[in-house]
Amino acid sequence: MSTTSKPYGIIAEFMTSADVLHAAEKVRKAGFRRWDVFTPFPVHGMDRAMGIKNSKVGWFSFIGGVTGYTTGMLMIWWMNAFDYRIVIGGKPMFSPYAAFPPSYELTILFGAFGAIGGMLFLNRLPRLHHPLLKHKRFGLATHDRFFIVIETDDPKYSETETRKLLEATGSKRIEMVEA
């Protein structure tokens, strides 16, 4: 089999969130690694069914927040108390109290950048080309259908067995996705 004509994966369509949840449990138990579930909204309990661990986005946001607060405090100290000192109303050149509100806002700003940047990075987005987006039924994944896709790159993938497994989960429509 030449690699150019190798399909991307096998796609199974489901009508309801309950069906896809139970199917996902079976696919995970079968030991697949390179597979995914596609739903129009996050299905409650799907992370556990797929065995996905807690997301790491929080760390990105935390690092962003710490960076923001430090940047704010250092910037204000440097600007008002070091680089160009001006006495204003007898107030101290630098006070953590006056510097707090802008630093607080920068904490939130950089924390938000971290959360969004982290989410996009972990999801490998933006990605403007994906084999699934060319599949003609797949557009329904953002409408009202639920899909399970097992990639042909998965070590456990086999043309006949994987299809049988998906049929056993109750999917009525199973197709191959071109790479």
Binding site: S17, P40, H44, V57, I88, I108, P126, H130, G139, D144
Partner: protein, 472 residues
């Protein structure tokens, strides 16, 4: 102890205590995306043009007013000693306050797991962004020499000077610009899955390209959803302290000064409550007609209207309490200047402002205690207008009412706006409504994926999930 444990009988709640579903008439997933996308598809209805053309003309007027103001000077406004802050700051605070309801709905209600927010959050967040845009115009213009606005940001200048961070006005710059940025990002993150929905149903090449570009390749993968939901939760957790800080810092613009009527510690919570209150007024003003015009009655149900009225009532009561407390402190302080200011709020030159503020903000929303007023859409709409007007007068009373009679009679004066003030304010409505009307024709004005997620058939453990997805 493996004896058979006695079976616990759960009492079945009576039908009148059952919660009404968030999406009425048991609509299917497909119906939700079709219904919401239909607002953007096809020709614009007549009412849309009837609203858009005057809004756009007002926007043009705003442009003309700003050009006139920039080319001539701030003197074209009515700001005059002793009232150096006039309609510009009133309108700035008013618009910023309106924005707060959007963030409250999108962030705070998300953290409180108020699932009804999904029906209204997208439109409310859009309202926030456009309201902050309107607000931002005022301080930027009020500096007079607009071409020096960039001095507000910590950018090196030829003079070597830096912004002065000991001033609350500088804190305000950071608060408002962070608020705008985070609101836009939060809104955009919420839009991602819906942009993918729009991409997948787009018919024309240009729509497919543009929605596809902004959807960033979203596929609805569950491995993506898990990171997405975490990021959304964190953004909600960040936007909550943000929205509380923004109006607190806006209030510090006043409270850090030593002027009677401004110099009070109650200002931050009082301003935040007032902001949320006025914002809910604007949400109701917008959504009560729109749910009918866009046939969204099954998504923005009467239950949604009812709870929003209750939030208005709650925040309006907090505002009323703050008014009472201000008066009490003014009397209890024994400070003659403080007492003078507060006496003249109700019995001075601008008595009508004080009266409007008390009547519209503290008294009229109390009608929402009565169910009939929460269920009657005309009543809700009219009260929401009162809320908007009342909160404008509150800011008028605070800004002008405290400035026009200073400590010395030599500093007393009378403030009145010029035609430029009035036309600029009308123009910001043009900006707001133009943006909002364009938004609802281009982007899904209901958070489609989130609404799908709160339907009963979305829960895989609900018996309805096994049935074939509701009625069509």
């Amino acid at each position: 102890m493996s004896e058979a444990t006695p079976k616990i009988k759960l009492p079945v709640p009576p039908p009148e205590l059952e919660r009404k579903p968030l999406v009425a008439n048991n609509r299917s997933f497909a119906w939700i995306s079709d219904r919401v996308a239909a607002i953007t598809e096809g020709k614009a209805p007549l009412w849309w043009w009837a609203a858009f053309i005057p809004s756009f003309l007002c926007l043009c007027m705003l442009g003309a007013m700003l050009i006139y103001q920039i080319s001539t000077g701030v003197g074209v406004w009515g700001n005059m000693h002793p009232v150096m802050w006039g309609w510009d700051i009133i309108n700035f605070v008013w618009w910023i306050g309106i924005g707060h309801a959007g963030t409250l709905i999108s962030a705070i209600l998300f953290l409180l797991r108020q699932r009804w927010r999904t029906g209204v959050n997208r439109a409310a967040e859009a309202m926030t962004i456009f309201a902050v845009m309107c607000a931002g115009i005022y301080p930027a213009m009020h500096v007079g020499r607009v071409w020096y606005d960039w001095y507000l940001f910590p950018i090196p200048t030829p003079l070597g000077l830096w912004p002065q961070f000991r001033s609350p006005l500088m804190w305000d710059v950071f608060a408002v610009s962070t608020y705008f940025t985070v609101s836009v990002l939060f809104w955009y993150v919420g839009l991602l899955p819906d942009l993918a929905t729009m991409r997948d149903r787009a018919k024309t090449r240009i729509k497919q390209f543009l929605y596809g570009l902004f959807a960033l390749g979203w596929t609805g993968s569950n491995r993506h959803w898990t990171n997405y939901e975490k990021a959304y939760l964190i953004l909600a957790g960040l936007a909550t302290p943000l929205v509380l800080s923004v109006h607190s810092i806006v209030s510090l613009d006043f409270a850090v000064s030593q002027l009677p009527g401004w110099h009070t510690t109650i200002f931050p919570p009082y301003f935040v409550a007032g902001a949320v209150y006025s914002g809910f007024g604007m949400v109701l003003t917008l959504l009560v007609p729109l749910r009918k015009m866009c046939k969204l009655e099954d998504i923005i149900t009467m239950r949604h209207v009812d709870v929003m009225c209750k939030v208005t009532l709650a925040t309006g009561s907090i505002v009323g309490y703050a008014y009472a407390m201000e008066y009490f402190i003014a009397w209890y302080s024994g400070n003659p200047y403080e007492r003078w200011t507060f006496w003249h709020r109700l019995f001075g030159t601008y008595w009508y402002g004080g009266l409007a503020m008390l009547l519209f903000n503290a008294a009229i929303p109390q009608l929402f205690w009565i169910k009939w007023f929460r269920q009657n859409l005309k009543a809700v709409f009219i009260i929401s207008i009162f809320v908007n007007v009342g909160m404008w007068f509150e800011r008028f009373v605070i800004v002008v009412g405290s400035l026009y009679q200073d400590f010395l009679p030599a500093n007393w004066g009378y403030y009145k706006p010029t035609w430029v003030d009035i036309c600029t304010f009308l123009g910001t409505f043009g900006l707001f409504f133009t943006c909002f009307l364009l938004f609802m024709r281009v982007l899904p004005m209901i958070a489609v994926s989130e609404v799908k997620g709160v339907t009963p058939q979305a829960d895989p453990h609900n018996p309805l999930a096994k049935a074939d997805g509701g009625q069509h």
